[in-house]
Symmetry: C2
Subunit: 341 residues, 2 copies
Amino acid sequence: MPGRHRPMATLATVAAAAGVSRQTVSNALNSPDLLRPETLERVQQAIDDLGYTPNRAARNLRTRASHLVGLRIEPALQGNASGLMDRFLHSLVESCKEAGLHVLLFAAEDVNDPLDGYDALLASAAVDAFVVTDTYRGNPQAAWLEARQVPFVAFGRPWAEPHAQHPWVDVDGRAGVGLAVEHLADRGHERIAWVGWQKSSYIGEDRRSGWLDRMHQRGLPTTRLSARGEDTIEFGRRAAHALVEGEQPTAFLCVSDTVAMGVLQAIADCGRRPGADDVAVVGFDDSLAAQVIPPGLTSVRQPLEGVAVEIVRLLEDRLAMRAVEHPHVILAPELRVRGTS
Amino acid sequence: MPGRHRPMATLATVAAAAGVSRQTVSNALNSPDLLRPETLERVQQAIDDLGYTPNRAARNLRTRASHLVGLRIEPALQGNASGLMDRFLHSLVESCKEAGLHVLLFAAEDVNDPLDGYDALLASAAVDAFVVTDTYRGNPQAAWLEARQVPFVAFGRPWAEPHAQHPWVDVDGRAGVGLAVEHLADRGHERIAWVGWQKSSYIGEDRRSGWLDRMHQRGLPTTRLSARGEDTIEFGRRAAHALVEGEQPTAFLCVSDTVAMGVLQAIADCGRRPGADDVAVVGFDDSLAAQVIPPGLTSVRQPLEGVAVEIVRLLEDRLAMRAVEHPHVILAPELRVRGTS
DNA sequence: GAGGCGTCTTGGAACGATCCAGAGGCTGCG
DNA sequence: CGCAGCCTCTGGATCGTTCCAAGACGCCTC
């Protein structure tokens, strides 16, 4: 690194300038109430004059804390995750800032190993904690991190082990879909179809249960109104065509915006226009595409800003070693109503 | 931070275990060729046995380098930037990993101050370098950072000062649009309209020049075939309607996917189908929406992976204080052909 | 066999902060 | 007046690594 114009000020420099000892300067920063006001001001003056900022590395070494939070960045998925991650990341960085933390991104050597990458950062004490995001495919990370007593918070429930004790924050997909059912039913729709993911997807089944339960609650039919498949446009299209040939639903509730795009195509194939012509479509994720496609896709929006806030809150508890009784937060999404419904 | 099960191994621990001095262990890691093979192996064995990893903070303190690269994350924009950032970030993290660097995200207190946030990280020696991304609105950061001799690389040319000497990497928007003109002309289109951003946008004018020049080169008309406005769907729609009423272009070349979405809507308004019906549309950015909207929007794709690689390469030069003669890289985008053309 | 050289190894110092124990001045109480 | 106790401030030690200068050792040469 090229040298600075002035040699960087240190505690000792400031101490000399203020005519006090190093420790006094340190106290001025970390426990100002220990100083006599007069001394404090003198030290402050010296700090300002010299433009002093504590050296991170030295502080980290001594306090054994880096105030960095590691986040493993997953390969950009083609579909739904893209765009979501953007929003989440920004909120997370913002929330971390409030807490005096920074976000350190890292990537795995081996993408398929969900543990890869964590170890290295941990062993070198480069980060204090982690935010774990890809819990949807099981969460070996949680067990691994917990065994090592590493502070971390997961975005996403431990579906496979519902009683896991580690802190997590998640979005109530089920409630979100429930909202959508309400919305559609209020507009007079009765045959509301579900276009979802495979049974093996915990998240997919959670969202589906929101549809199923609310439909039953309102006394609406669900038989032969449900399709399941992968998260692709193509699947959405095929599923919609099949459903139309069957029970002729008037509304399609989709597990993701990607699938919803396929459904929209299928409707266009039939020469009908969603929103008008008595056909409604609702997606999930409020992706950019949902906002952009005419006439605007109604979609369930995840409160990622809130998720970030809660994650950081739990992280702070954990870092401060405050025991929290039930460190689990489920946030309700909201419905963004647009032209397709 | 909660204590580990075993107290973390240190250089001294390893040295004791291997029966050598601290320095020898350090050499085993940093300049293994200084050691006799036999000694090296013994040390290696001890390192493996104890699961030793050098402590980052201590190393940072001693070497005055953090191997962290700061990236200021901007508020998620509604439009084109979203999704792009995702792709870029991932590539950057990946490239940084190759170089032994990590990416540290930070946010500004005051979003409107382009310098905010850099100072704090710099003064505390938390990062070694920066990647600066928002050069499109002028780049006071570049001047500021350069004055402080801080290593950094910009993503985006210094439009306002073309001869600035700091390293930067950019995408050749002009060439990308040129590609699109070729593509459309090859398909027989002659009246190809430009739907772009305001004259005040450097990037917008750069892209437009690609259209203008290539059109002239091929002897195609451009008068009354150009519209300029803001980056919204609504503008795209209005502009397309106006153009259709005028010169009746058969193809629309758009400065962004967002604008292109508006153009697509306008075409649908007229009851025609892009791709079929002799109307073509091309966008810019290859956003998620472009991939998802039927029948697929042809779009210019920025080589963000390549951008990240080049940025890190320049960053390494800079960090190693290697003088590079002309530290500027312009990468060519490619055209993703889809249904709309 | 002494001197010189190269290879390998060593202990001490330094990076810049915080922790710790204790010194000095002041007040208040017996 | 003496002493405990509080407040304020100090100097030394420490975190774990790398830099530095010098020591130990073996080998070659004269």
